[in-house]
């Protein structure tokens, strides 16, 4: 039996996290090949619809990464992402997407080791959860 290989979509902020991901590449920090990066201008640009779309299209995990609070290239876009993350996570969990499948992280341009580490960590977390199939008729958690 082949091991379950989760697919993770990572929305990375153009100014910090994407740079960190590039730098992780330059530094050859080996990562498991499960993450697919989508570049966005700002973590505040990531509409919760994108996250839901990713899960609905078969992603097993979604990561949104942006600049550390206070360092946002657009002053406070990341704070908006932070505000959304809690309510979004709540909605996702009500719809059967476990909390660990959606993460919001702050990764500065200089934190490429952290980027590689977080990616590998999240891949393992999601692998342990198994495939994400919210639209199938499996039992849901309590909704409240």
């Amino acid at each position: 039996m082949t091991r379950f290989e989760p697919k993770i979509i990572a929305f990375l902020c153009n100014w910090c996290s994407y740079v960190a991901a590039d730098a992780a590449g330059v530094s050859r920090f080996v990562q498991k090949p499960n993450v697919r990066v989508i570049r966005v201008f700002c973590s505040g640009m990531v509409d919760p619809s994108y996250v839901i779309k990713a899960f609905a299209s078969g992603a097993d995990g979604v990561l949104v990464a942006g600049c550390h609070p206070g360092d946002c290239h657009y002053l406070a876009g990341n704070i908006k992402a932070l505000r959304r993350s809690f309510l979004l996570r709540k909605l996702l969990s009500e719809l059967g997407v476990e909390e660990k499948r959606f993460r919001l992280e702050w990764i500065a341009a200089s934190e490429s080791p952290l980027y590689a580490k977080l990616m590998n960590e999240m891949i393992e977390d999601v692998r342990n959860l198994g495939p994400c199939m919210p639209s199938s008729q499996k039992p849901l958690k309590g909704v409240a």
Binding site: K7, P33, I38, F41, A59, G70, K80
Partner: protein, 1118 residues
């Protein structure tokens, strides 16, 4: 179907070594219908690679291009240009990163190939949704704003102005020049800082293209590159730059001395002064911190600091005339005022407030002695007549100021004497009759007619006054009816209103007061009544009130005096009934009052009816408050408020009847004397304005108030003088008669009180300089104003601050006068500095033999939160020890350092010279402590090269304080929308490739606000910023990036969710059409609004949901 060209780069083996590019290319061209051509190539970014794309676009007619190679951060512009060259819109291109995110981080070629294929599939899916985009163009306003007038700002401003463009320079301080103006010499050439700076500053002053705004701050920037709108707050200089000749006469007469900020507190200056003779603008200006708390606490707004200061230097007449500007009754006020000024006095936070009130009384007494009446100058006489009804404090004040304005004023008084409550409400032992009479005589002398014994409403009406030609009426009839308890027996013989007793006594009417007296009430009137009763022969006076002792409204001072005189006070009792014997009062029964106020603080007494007390008495005075004469106010036809008071507009004192103004107690209910005076003066101004301009309200911006808490600077200014005590009559003496109790200050006492003033407002606006100034250049009534500028580019050069050495208490700065900072040392060396250029010890003026320099104070210290190197301190210390050695060839310099950083042209050589030629001892190691022993300073540290502790005796210790962001960097950052690093230095666009640009187009940085810098670097950055500005101006137009938010008005519902999202104020709400509106020129494309929009009416072009969704689907399609 769309035709997509896909190009996969091997990047040599960088990609090709891990990812099977060829296989992907083959698979994709067969799997995806839209893929018209899919090629892989060794180096796509090379010219043959780019040509391949260009040829395919031309030959195959591709609609879109996907390039899979390195990070778009690297080569996106390259490929965009390539497709552009072939005539394709560059936004129809998409770049997929399969190197940094894929080949370089994968160790499994199969997995990497799969991942790369997914990513490319995502790119293909996305690109088919791409639209061609072009940016819009906006013209640039070729006017620049330079914020900060230091050397960086000066350089930028001069360069831009030289190119012929208008420049506004905004400087927070009174002069331009910044920190460089404070330096003595510059390293490594040792040329005089002033000598190279002042030509530059005067060039700024002369240049017709530069407009300098000193004492100004940018408070808001809106708009976008090429089209900014800037609001600048200009604080008053008080001295006209145009008129001032710089003669310096003004500072001769200024009574105030404060530590000079420019000299870092090493000498003092007058508030009116200039930092140094060559300063630009080369005129004087006044340092004023704002309205001091004493003045802002005074309802009448008397310039307390002004007359205290003048009294302190013995200018009593000038002081008195300053009082009279807002308070006609100096003498009376000095006796009976409630003194809110003293409560607010900051000296009270140190020891005791200055005795403001007694000082004022002294001024009044002084006037009486000398016979001079320093009233404000009378204006030209006018014909208009004004009537004042009631001769109380507010009525007389109104008459006083109206008379000064030149009006013909008649005061009508119902009682046989003038003065209102001053005369008939306040016992003579507090306010002697002759004092009031003198003040009233003064008013009479000014031409005011006072007619007593005339009752308004009976002898006079509004109509009759109008008929007599009075243009305006000021109504200030006060409250003269004693409030009643409404209990049975209140009309018995022997029961009397408290205020009635006071009036009768004042008018010398016959009053019978028994031996035992009960006074009901807990206010000041009750206390006055009790004490008057004592003086009229009562032997036992009981004062009973509802309130507990601490709740009593009477002043503590008065209560204590009453107690001293023998009045007994019984609290928490309310009258239940009056008991009579033969129709005459004999006793009062009281019940226990359990609480006076309800939970909301409203007067709502509750009683315990069971607990009663009966008190025998012969006479009872009810002093529970006053009210206006009911029928009177009702009959006037004026609007009235609670308690029958006349309703007025509190700013203009006008009533609902045109031309009729009212003030004082009849509008306020029982209030204070000083409030009444304030009302009177305000009414006079309003009546003046009413007669001259038909009653338009004048808008006067209130002066900024000084912070109410005492600060370090103020504490340092305090002279160690105790508050003088007021000499008083002993209790047993005073209860016998109505002789005044307080005896008054002597001139010495008043002067010392004046000197106790902390000068919180800095300039006290006493007006001495105004009188002295020949060209009439000084205007103390100047106020802050806001100017709006329209500029195309902004250079932010707000500079740098010096680390506060007080954060290292172990070094003793502030504790030992001979521990100074290196900037203070600069002033010591400077010929125009406090010592005239002699390097001497601040403590005793002796020439120091041994000077110790301590490096890295506030730099490279993680523990204090300043991890960075301030870059200049090593060189400064080397320079300063060289100067020191030049002045004192026998002296010895020591330097405790961590590393010597001398990276700069000629720097290392200079440092070497300091060590070798000047024989400075460089000791590597941190200093642990500086302390005093036997009159000398000891610097204890460690020589880390030898590993031993070391102690050095020093005559002078110089701390090489680091450079830190300006204290107000947050305000500046917020006003201009700049982001900062964790210290507070403004962030540049790119630390290497964009050192003077910011993330906001059209806003540039120069100098220390971006990070610690020395002069050459600041100048270079100023020039660089100027070059950026000039490049922008010469373009004439700016292209707005097309990747901005776009609103579909058809879908927008006007819910306003997006409006608050935008950090750039690019979204506004169109009230007419009830939809949002996006200014694309301001939009930075962050997409927060698009994500938040609940109906998805906003899209960021090139990052639309369609495109992202397609990419997600493409990536996850396998």
């Amino acid at each position: 179907m769309k035709k997509v060209g896909v190009y996969i780069c091997h990047c040599g083996t960088n990609i090709g070594g891990t990812v099977d590019c060829h296989k992907i290319a083959e698979e994709l061209s067969s799997e995806i219908g839209e893929v018209a051509v899919c090629r892989d190539y060794k180096y796509m970014c090379s010219e043959p690679g780019q040509k391949m794309i260009r040829d395919d676009i031309a030959e195959l007619g591709l609609d879109h291009v996907v390039e899979a190679s390195c990070s778009p951060k690297m080569h996106e512009p390259t490929f965009r240009n390539a497709v552009s060259a072939a005539g394709m819109n560059p936004y129809l291109f998409e770049m997929v990163n399969i190197r940094e995110h894929c080949s370089w981080v994968s160790d499994n070629p199969d997995a990497a190939t799969d991942k790369a294929k997914d990513l490319i599939r995502g790119g293909i899916a996305r690109v088919t949704h791409h639209e061609p985009l072009t940016g819009s163009k906006k013209s640039v306003n070729p006017t620049a704003l330079v914020v900060g007038g230091g050397i960086a700002g000066i350089t930028a401003a001069l360069k831009i102005a030289k190119a012929g463009y208008q420049v506004f320079m905004v400087e927070k301080e009174e002069i331009i020049g910044g920190k460089m103006a404070q330096f003595d010499k510059t390293f490594p050439t040792l040329d005089c800082s002033g000598c190279i700076l002042t030509p530059k500053t005067s060039e700024v002053g002369r240049n017709p293209h530069i407009e300098t705004m000193t004492k100004s701050e940018v408070i808001e920037v809106s708009g976008f590159v090429g089209n900014f709108k800037v609001r600048v707050l200009q604080r008053p200089r008080y001295v006209s730059v145009e008129k001032c000749t710089g003669c310096g006469d003004c500072q001769q007469v200024c009574p105030i001395n404060i530590p000079s900020p420019f000299e870092l507190g090493m000498t003092t200056r007058h508030p009116i002064s200039r930092p140094f003779p060559q300063a630009i603008p080369n005129t004087y200006s006044i340092l004023r911190a704002g309205m001091p708390p004493c003045q802002s606490a005074c309802p009448a707004g008397v310039n307390v600091q002004g007359y205290m200061t003048l009294t302190g230097v013995g200018k009593f007449d000038e002081a008195l005339s300053l009082v009279r500007e807002r308070m006609p009754f100096a003498s009376a006020c000095g006796r009976i005022c409630v003194r809110p000024c003293e409560d607010a006095c900051k000296r009270g936070q140190l020891d005791a407030p200055t005795a403001i009130c007694f000082t004022k009384r002294f001024l009044g007494d002084h006037e009486k002695e000398t016979g001079l009446q320093p009233n404000p100058p009378m204006k030209e006489s006018r014909e208009e007549k004004v009537a004042v009804i009631g001769s109380g404090p507010s009525g007389l004040s109104a008459a006083y100021y109206l008379s000064i304005e030149g009006y013909q004023v008649t005061v009508f008084e119902k009682l046989p004497v003038a003065g209102g409550m001053l005369t008939v409400g306040i016992p003579a032992y507090r306010l002697p009759r002759d004092v009031i009479e003198a003040e009233i005589a003064n008013i009479r002398d000014m031409g005011v007619t006072i007619r007593t014994g005339i009752t308004f409403g009976k002898d006079l009406t509004f109509e009759s006054l109008e008929d007599e030609g009075f243009r305006a009426v000021f109504l200030s009839t006060g409250l003269h009816v004693s409030r009643k308890l409404n209990l049975e027996g209140e009309d018995l013989k022997g029961v009397m209103g408290g205020i009635d007793l006071l009036r009768k006594v004042a008018l010398n009417e016959q009053v019978h007061v028994g031996k035992s007296v009960i006074v009901i009430g807990g206010g000041n009137v009750a206390v006055d009544v009790a004490r008057t009763a004592l003086r009229l022969g009562a032997t036992k006076v009981d004062l009973l009130c509802l309130e507990a002792r601490h709740e009593m409204p009477a002043w503590e001072r008065e209560l204590n005096e009453a107690l001293e005189e023998g009045v007994t006070i019984q609290n928490s009792l309310g009258p239940k009934r009056f008991i009579d014997r033969d129709g005459k009062i004999c006793a009062v029964e009281f019940k226990r009052c359990t609480s006076v106020f309800d939970a909301n603080g409203n007067f709502k007494p509750t009683y315990d009816e069971n607990e009663t007390v009966e008190l025998q008495c012969e006479t009872v005075f009810v002093a529970i408050g006053q009210s206006p004469e009911n029928n009177f106010t009702n009959s006037l036809g004026l609007e009235t408020g609670p308690g029958g008071t006349v309703s007025i507009d509190t700013e203009t004192m006008s009533t609902n009847r045109p031309g009729v103004f009212a003030g004082g107690d009849c509008t306020l209910g029982p209030a204070t004397f000083v409030q009444a005076v304030a009302h009177g003066r305000q009414a006079a101004l309003s009546i003046d304005s009413y007669i001259k301009h038909g009653g338009l309200r004048e808008i006067r911006p209130a002066e900024r108030k000084v912070a109410p808490e005492i600060g370090e600077a103020e504490k340092n200014r305090a002279r160690p003088i105790e508050r003088s005590a007021m000499p008083v009559l002993p209790p047993e003496e005073r209860k016998k008669s109505f002789e005044p109790i307080e005896l008054g200050f002597t001139a010495e006492m008043a002067m010392t009180e004046g000197q106790r003033c902390l000068a919180c407002g800095m300039c006290c606006q006493c007006g001495e300089c105004v009188r002295k100034c020949g060209p009439q250049a000084i205007d103390l009534s100047e106020t802050e104003r806001i100017r709006e500028l329209e500029v195309g580019a902004i250079v932010v050069a707000t500079g740098i601050d010096i680390f506060d050495a007080g954060k290292y208490p172990e070094y003793g700065h502030g504790k030992y006068p001979d521990v100074i900072t290196n900037l203070q040392f600069e002033r010591l060396c400077n010929a125009s500095g406090p010592t005239g250029g002699k390097v001497v010890r601040p403590s005793d003026g002796k020439v120091p033999k041994s000077v110790v320099f301590i490096q890295c104070v506030g730099s490279r210290d993680r523990a204090k939160g300043y991890e960075y190197c301030s870059k200049v301190c090593c060189m400064i210390s080397a320079k300063q020890l060289s100067i020191f050695k030049h002045h004192n060839p026998d002296g010895q310099a020591y330097v405790f350092y961590i590393d010597n950083r001398a990276g700069g042209k000629g720097y290392e050589e200079f440092l070497r010279r300091a060590i070798e030629q000047e024989e400075a001892q460089y000791i590597r190691g941190r200093v642990a402590k500086v302390f005093e022993e036997g009159g000398r300073l000891i610097v204890r540290g460690e020589n880390s090269l030898v590993g031993h502790p070391v102690e050095v005796e020093a005559d002078l210790v110089v701390l090489a304080t680091g450079l830190v962001p300006q204290k107000d960097y947050m305000n500046v950052g917020r006003a201009i929308n700049l982001s900062t690093d964790r210290y507070g230095f403004f962030m540049e666009l790119h630390p290497k490739l964009g050192p003077v640009e910011t993330s906001l187009a059209g806003i540039y940085l120069a100098g220390g606000c971006q990070g610690p810098k020395d002069i050459p670097e600041s100048v270079a950055q100023g020039g660089a910023a100027a070059a950026e500005v000039l490049a922008l101006f010469s373009m004439g137009q700016v292209e707005i990036d097309p990747t901005v938010a776009n609103l579909d008005e058809r879908l927008c519902t006007g819910c306003r969710t997006c409006v608050g999202m935008c950090a750039y104020n690019a979204i506004s709400f169109d009230e007419q059409r009830k939809v949002a509106s996006i200014n694309q020129a301001l939009c930075q494309g962050c997409g927060t609004c698009a994500a938040a929009c609940p109906v998805a009416a906003i899209e960021v072009q090139h990052y639309t949901p369609d495109q992202i969704f397609a990419q997600i689907e493409g990536i996850l399609a396998s």
